[in-house]
């Protein structure tokens, strides 16, 4: 993302809203629907005033029927529209998995290329709000395993806007996993409708001792940890894949080759999480020969997200955990 003259500080939620607004302005086929996206402005306030700008037709409240909503998006996309669906919490994609996975993801291939399903599914994931196990999951690994889906996890304000715009442009179904804790975070983003290309990782910081690969809210925690590590004389490269599918393997391989150590940080439970894929990819890549240490994952515990704040914090990596793990990795290997 190159800085442009019209860059200003806005929140992540505002960035998403701005992208939605710009996409709807420039393309009649784009519309938005989901539970409480209209007058309410979205469960997390993301859609805000869009209904007043674009009307109830294009910013459409739905009943509570995630499967039906996503299915309707598939149908609208097949019939030439560019629907954007909001699912209030990414946990409720469980309700809609058939339409996401068995329909949206497969139709283009299954029909021999005769049709495409240009739709976007936006949903916030992650813990940290005390919403407990059914409202706090990080399910990106599910989607990243499904051929036919593209998956992005914007970690910055600029990417919240840029990746969403690119997702809306894409002729394939794209799952955009936002993060609840990021919505209120501020950061720079261009006013104009600049795309963040899908499939390109961002190197957020460069160091020599290890490479930290992190997704979602873990990107800012990794950067904070990298600050602290620097004070102790350990410098880290921090890579934010941004797009999980298709994954920019090259950037990860190159940075890990350069540092010889990899710490992979995700919020989701360790077992079978997305970082397992990154690790496996690294261990069968040219980087393997350059590894000075085992590829380490720092992940959420293999537990449902608990309600109590102290338990919830303990369940997912925090900045000190990243610092500790990185230090260990560098000092011991």
């Amino acid at each position: 993302m190159t800085a442009t003259t019209d860059t200003r500080e806005i929140t992540y939620a505002e960035a998403v809203r701005e992208a939605l607004g710009q996409a709807m302005e420039s393309d009649d086929r784009v519309f938005l629907f989901g539970e409480d996206v209209g007058t309410y402005g979205g469960a997390f306030g993301v859609t805000g005033d869009l209904v007043h700008r674009f009307g109830e037709d294009r910013v459409r409240d739905t009943p509570i029927s995630e499967l039906g909503i996503v299915g309707a998006a598939v149908g609208a996309a097949l019939a030439g529209m560019r629907p954007i669906v909001e699912i209030q919490f990414s946990d409720f994609t469980a309700q809609a998995m058939d339409q996401i996975v068995n329909q949206a993801a497969k139709i283009h291939f299954m029909l021999g290329g005769a049709a495409e399903v240009p739709m976007v599914l936006r949903a916030p994931g992650g813990s940290g709000t005390g919403a407990a196990a059914q409202h706090s999951q990080s399910l990106e690994a599910w989607f990243a395993h499904i051929p036919g889906l593209k998956v992005v996890m914007p970690a910055t304000v600029a990417d919240a806007k840029g990746l969403l715009l690119a997702a809306i442009d894409d002729p394939n179904p794209v799952v955009v996993l936002e993060h609840k804790l990021l919505y209120k975070q501020s950061g720079p983003a261009p006013q104009e409708a600049t795309r963040t290309p899908l499939g390109k990782a961002a190197v957020r910081r460069t160091g020599t001792d290890l490479t930290i690969v992190a997704t979602g809210v873990m990107v800012s925690r990794a950067l904070e940890a990298a600050e602290q590590l620097a004070a102790e004389g350990i410098t880290a490269t921090v890579v934010d894949p941004r797009t999980l599918k298709p994954l920019d393997e090259q950037t990860i391989v190159d940075t890990v080759t350069a540092t010889g150590r990899a710490l992979l940080v995700q919020e989701a439970p360790r077992s079978g999480g997305f970082m397992s894929e990154v690790s496996a990819m690294l261990c069968d890549s040219p980087a393997f020969g350059y590894l000075r240490a085992p590829v380490r994952r720092l992940c959420g515990l293999d537990v449902p997200i608990p309600y109590a704040p102290q338990l919830e914090r303990a369940a997912v990596p925090q900045v000190p955990d990243i610092v500790a793990e990185a230090t260990k990795l560098v000092r011991e290997w």
Binding site: S65, G71, G75, A77, A79, A115, E116
Partner: protein
């Protein structure tokens, strides 16, 4: 539209029904002889439903179909040779051999696709209806599904969305009495599945699904309603599948007598009798329809057989669309 009294329409309807019948008999035979792969779901005995229903449609209208979708596809105007090529796993098939029977679509004629997922097409139909409505068009979307589909959550959610937004969708339930082995009477407690329409505040009607005219009239009225912006309808067409659910079916859940009694209600024979009775067509004109269907299916098999096998070369690059040009 009078299917029975108008010669041209009668010819068209009869030819469509015979084409479906002959096509599926051919498929049955190819399977039995080990020349066809995968699985298949035949709609023999149910030909009146897609035939009567699709006669109410015009260019620009959409359909969504099911695992038992050959009839819908043919009635909506698909090319037999490309259908057959798909089933025979040829590169020239509708899906280039990647979809098979359960995924044949013909987007050009508005057929958004068969679906291997029971009720999977129902919310998709609602979405297509939403697209039509948002564009201010007057097209209709016709969604076919079976009696088994009405107990899926997807069906409930899709119908409700269409209802609240007055979408131009016609939901056509092909009640062939069983969802696989589950009798419709065991799967729900309502007398007629059309009664479920009331739960969505939309009209519901039950018709004789072995009479293409009855089907047509109900669908036609619903399509007009849809085009006029008055929202969706539910039509239950009662019919019967003669063959097993799929090739693994041993028919343990229904009796020989039941099957025979429905065979006596053959929609094609009934229609031919009616047409003859009304003197709309002569015996030899009927025979001509039959021959046309047979010849078309034979030609389709020949063309399909001559086509190259589907190629595995481009699998990986076929997953994502690069965008329409």
């Amino acid at each position: 539209m009078d299917l029975v009294k108008d010669a041209e329409t009668a010819t068209s309807a009869l030819t469509t029904m015979w084409t479906i019948r002959r096509f599926e008999e051919a498929v049955d035979d190819l399977f039995a002889r080990g020349l066809m792969h995968g699985t298949m779901h035949l709609s023999i005995g149910q030909e009146a439903v897609p035939t009567g229903a699709c006669l109410a449609l015009r260019e620009g209208d959409y359909i969504t179909s099911t695992h038992r979708g050959h009839g819908h596809c043919i009635a909506k105007g698909a090319q037999l040779d490309r259908m057959m090529a798909e089933l025979l796993a040829k590169e020239t098939g509708y899906c280039r051999g990647r979809g098979g029977s359960m995924h044949i679509a013909d987007v050009a004629t508005g057929n958004l696709g068969a679906n291997g997922i029971v009720a999977g097409g129902v919310p998709i139909a609602a979405g297509a209806g939403l697209a039509v409505k948002m564009r201010g068009q007057s097209h209709a979307v016709l969604s076919f599904f079976g009696d088994g589909a009405v107990n899926e959550g997807a069906w409930h959610e899709g119908v409700n969305l269409a209802a609240i937004w007055d979408l131009p969708v016609v939901f056509v339930c092909e009640n062939n009495k069983y969802g696989m082995s589950m009798s419709v009477n065991r799967a729900s407690k309502v007398d007629n599945l059309a009664d479920r329409a009331a739960a969505y505040g939309i009209p519901g009607v039950t018709v004789d699904g072995n009479d293409p005219q009855e089907v047509h009239d109900a669908v036609d009225e619903a399509v007009e309603r849809a085009r006029a912006g008055n929202g969706p309808s539910l039509i239950e067409a009662v019919t019967y599948r003669w063959k097993g659910h799929s090739k693994s079916d041993k028919n343990l859940y229904r009796s020989r007598e039941e099957i025979d009694s429905w065979r006596e209600q053959d929609p094609i024979t009934r229609f031919e009798t009616a047409v003859l009775h009304q003197q709309t067509l002569t015996e030899s004109e009927l025979a001509a329809c039959r021959d046309a269907a047979r010849d078309a299916v034979r030609a389709a098999i020949r063309t399909a057989n001559a086509a190259p096998d589907a190629s595995a070369d481009e699998l990986l690059s076929a997953v994502y669309s690069g965008g329409k040009q």
